[in-house]
Symmetry: D2
Subunit: 369 residues, 4 copies
């Protein structure tokens, strides 16, 4: 039963609406004795924060995270960590018309049909603002990983904006932090900027594909069958607002491969087991292999656009909907730090779960020296 909670042992429960007094989450199951402060979490929130370029929503939120429990004298105590972020720049009047009419492609209508009542201000619970809580929780997960599995490194970036994909031959990790798109291809980033400027002028929006990679993940994380690492990653990424598809390793391209092509051949290298390729995306049978865990997800275009669309209102009448307010023309951009946060939470959760069940003692290859 996890209406608003994810995770097995490292569990995150989020709460809050876009225009309520605050949003936040409770992080439970955190190991004790891990150094943690608000200053450790804030940089992750700052990466996701709105208003940092002309390509994202102009809402101005400080996104200051407060730790309300679970940390004493700078270390985690093993008890629940309550994190709260106050909402400060709500402009609810912008949404007065949305309360009555349903934006096509938006959760307005499904919330209404399910609950009969909803907070329409800024999208309420369905707003991507909720993802700030995920990023805060991901910051906790990263702090724990730094303590228990420091070899794990998580990196997210955009690989496609609209129909414009990066050129993998130009992939440069150093570029990721240099442009407003978390784009590892400097040439693509320029094309994306021009494309997105045009879309904004056209009162339109666009989708994107985000890739998140976790390197240094130890072999043995994941638990078949239904606690698979890829299953939980798929669920975690699909739970992010606007995500419509998730793939691991070769993903949908694997459908077009033969078994000969897809086989990631193995050999023993100086550091142990080594793979000749990584079509598997670091996961076989739901369990990590020690290779990099590679996950991609597709983000649909923002549904809140200035171009009029046909819809209905509460009274069941036909209406034309135009969404004012401050919206991301490509929500994929700010989904990058969110995807990283979900990866961090899932990896840590399975790390703890595996330590619980197996004691994290690994099967050997060859005889110990």
């Amino acid at each position: 039963m996890s209406l608003n909670t994810f995770g097995h042992l490292f569990r995150v429960t989020t709460w809050g609406e876009s225009h309520g007094p605050a949003i936040g989450c409770v992080v439970d199951g955190c190991p004790p004795g891990v150094p943690l402060s608000e200053a450790d979490l804030q940089p992750w929130l700052d990466r996701r924060k709105p208003g940092q370029s002309r390509f994202v929503t102009q809402r101005q939120e400080a996104d200051q995270v407060r730790i309300l429990s679970g940390v004493y004298q700078g270390v985690t105590t093993g008890t629940p960590i309550s994190l709260m972020i106050e909402n400060t720049d709500q402009r609810s009047k912008d949404y007065s018309n949305i309360a009555e009419a349903f934006r096509p492609g938006h959760a307005d209508i499904s919330y209404h049909l399910k609950y009969g009542v909803r907070d329409p201000r800024g999208g309420g619970r369905s707003s991507a603002r909720e993802t700030a809580s995920r990023v805060a929780a991901g910051g906790v997960a990263r702090a724990v990983l730094a303590a228990v599995a420091p070899e794990v490194r998580i990196s997210g970036y955009m690989v496609q904006l609209g129909k414009l994909a990066i050129d993998r031959s130009r992939f440069d990790a150093a570029e990721i932090e240099r442009n407003p798109f978390w784009c590892p291809d400097a040439v693509a980033a320029e094309a994306w900027a021009a494309h997105l400027d045009q879309l904004r002028k056209d009162h339109n929006s666009v989708g994107a594909v985000v890739e998140v990679v976790a390197e240094g993940v130890p072999a043995g994380l994941g638990a078949p069958l239904y606690g698979k690492l890829d299953q939980d990653l798929a669920g975690a990424m699909m739970s992010i607002n606007a995500v419509k598809g998730v793939e691991i390793g070769a993903g949908f391209a694997a459908a077009g491969l033969t078994g000969v092509e897809n086989a990631d051949e193995m050999e023993m290298g100086p550091q142990g087991l080594r793979f000749g390729s990584n079509h598997a995306g670091g996961i076989l049978g739901g369990i990590s292999t020690g290779q990099a865990v590679v996950c991609r997800f597709a983000v649909k275009p923002t549904s809140s656009i200035l171009t009029p669309r046909q819809s209905v209102n509460l009274a069941g009448e036909a209406v034309e909907v135009v969404t004012k307010g401050r919206h991301d023309p490509c929500v994929g951009i700010r989904a990058v730090p969110v995807g990283e946060a979900m990866m961090a939470c899932v990896i840590l959760d399975h790390w703890l779960l595996d330590r619980g069940q197996t004691g994290a003692q690994r099967g050997q290859l060859g005889r110990p020296a």
Copy 2:
């Protein structure tokens, strides 16, 4: 905590290995008073059964399902339904070499690294044989849906084999049951047969894409945020053996769409709310809208092939692996009934969950007459 269980309220726990005495599952949370017999479940198992064409494994399993509990005088009692399928055609000697060497692209190696010990016969727990239990559980879910939500209709089929996709303009639902590929395009089915025959001669295998559609799903199923309907579908499909990607509605193609294109416009029709398109795949904000729920997943090529591949063995030595035994050249084919079963379980689970939380009373559009 769901190592080998899935579902919130309608929960399925599976057990068993490919060459153990039996496999099975326990279905918990089933509503009482639903007519159910072994004869209701067997047809679904027969659809997944091996040995039904030259394109699937030649293992001969009767796949006779037995109901051991939870049904009395032909109706469910609300208590756990234990389902068991005996394994009858194990040929474990075929796998003697696999116990020592690791097939590239197979869960052999990850199980070994995690557990240190595993049942190598027929792939043990990681074998696709486990999916018979899912199909049995899906049969229970279908029986319940027939009682509580008879308007729900679930249909699965293959839309791509290797690089050969169907032509949507030739889509004919009646074709699905007429060819060994569950292919809705008769022309594509012929091309697939030729392609797969060649691959088998080449000691090779290939991937596929499966689509599962649920029509008649009431609006309001799903629970943000982390009990989203699409999140649970993504997890459920990704948990199927060999699946590497999942998408909902437009899926990855949504990344290439603009907001204007992607908006599923709404109007009131004679039967109530009506959508002009279904890029959303029937789910907005994690909650069903009343449109058809559309899910696709990518299946990688079978890793057990007769072409030699480089690998290592338990002793850490380099070896060449050739997999004999009886394997599906395209596991995507038999994944079709499995995908349907998972869809049935997820839809029913959320139907029950929604009834629990909201009483299944829907928000209105317009004033009741």
Copy 3:
């Protein structure tokens, strides 16, 4: 996996330490459309609030509860309800010595042994202050019950203080609110006051027994086997600070009864099924029968006392511990509203769960007219 969460469908996650900035909880799974405001919750918190008589801790806390999410325009939205209570009267200096030495009979030592680190101020996470969050969550549960099952009435009271039990023949429900002990026997209440005054002079404390009764609970709540109503009540009550025993109906006295005595005979009355007695405490086989649900729990004496006790400190040295600070001489008193809150949460949780699984359609006795 529920480290800091209880409930199946109506789930409560609490967080916070006694002397941190705040405590609170997230209530998930709440039905939508239920009228709810802070004013609905505050009276329950006021009943539990410290400082209301000389028999409870003199800590002065306003215990003002704030609703941070999940309520819009005065009704629940079905999304998580975040409740926060700020801590205002911490006097952490009182506890400086406790940080180093372990109080006998207190969770200080077990937290230290498990986590290696803990917040010692006011007992940190193990403080009974956490129960304010339970009372707030119980207030939400009561508001929902008032909407969906208004016939449910929950009442708690003390039936024993130290060795002094009430006389059941003097039971008067109207007395419960008239004395500082929630005691239904006015004579006993006087004796308790005298006894407790003496204990306070003696720098001592004492235990108690609390009874909580839920009338009007519909038949059919609870789910064997391991979602039994009595099982969940037992867990819920045992989770309250200082509780050492829980019983249902006749409880431990049932051990001394014969089958003839213990049988609650049945007959059909004008309102339907009627029982001649209620040894079962309203629960048979883990499922409610329609009779009053009766639960009792034993609370141990406060471990924080002014009488010196032998103990050890962090350095492993022998020390004498005297606990200053402001403590309840009988924590059983303030456990009454807490027990009521847990009863409300458990009953509602099972009400929702039953509606989900069975649709709350009851088996009939006799033929419908």
Copy 4:
């Protein structure tokens, strides 16, 4: 959501009815590499088996347990362990009258009211026969504990039959296996035999109190707040058929103690921390202290008796019920191995959970040498 499952990480799902073809359970989350065979489990089942003295039901069941999965070449593989026990001595005709009339004090009526339908043969799902599955699961838990925490020793025994309690001064652990009551007091055992013989002649039954002790439990197991060790023990014991009360350590007697009396004073002994008494029953704040974990539970008298009792039938008519069939005159006797099994499962579950969250590194007292 745990209708028929208990445990966090070591999870047990039971299934089956008294007179169905079989009963059983799935044990999930078991560590890999633990030696386990049917021969390891059978002795525990033999202890619970019916028909072993004139004081228990004369039903003859071999209670042969089969391992259907999760064990390979004599060791656990970390995958689900499916255990099955065939029912062989059903005499369903004995129950033909029970299908129509409701036994007072029995789950017949509550199952009917909840589900509308039930398997009445032998009590169906509500039969104590289900506890054989618990004992089998407990056998798995014991095997794992023997591997990971061999210092844990679990022992159960009866301390009261009807109103006849043991004399603690005559407590002799060696006596427990010498009489049909698991009674540690040889004198009391004789009195119980006479008392029970008389009750059987009188067509009556009687209740009992069982105590289960786990010695050698490491400090640090349990997780506040709502994964408390005592909370989970309370739930686990209360879930056993006919149990009406559970207490830890001093239990209800703690209500009558003062804080001075109840304080378990501490000192450092040669083996580390040592307590002067154990009123706490080995648990403080929900976390084990390293002392013996002491739990007691009260079992009500068997409701199936030969003395006529007033009741109603399906048609809502008044009837007199006399229960033939083969029943335990004191179900408390066979509850002893069941209580031990639940203790083993709960302890192991928390052992694994603690290893997962904290790595089982304990807080120190004093400086390491």
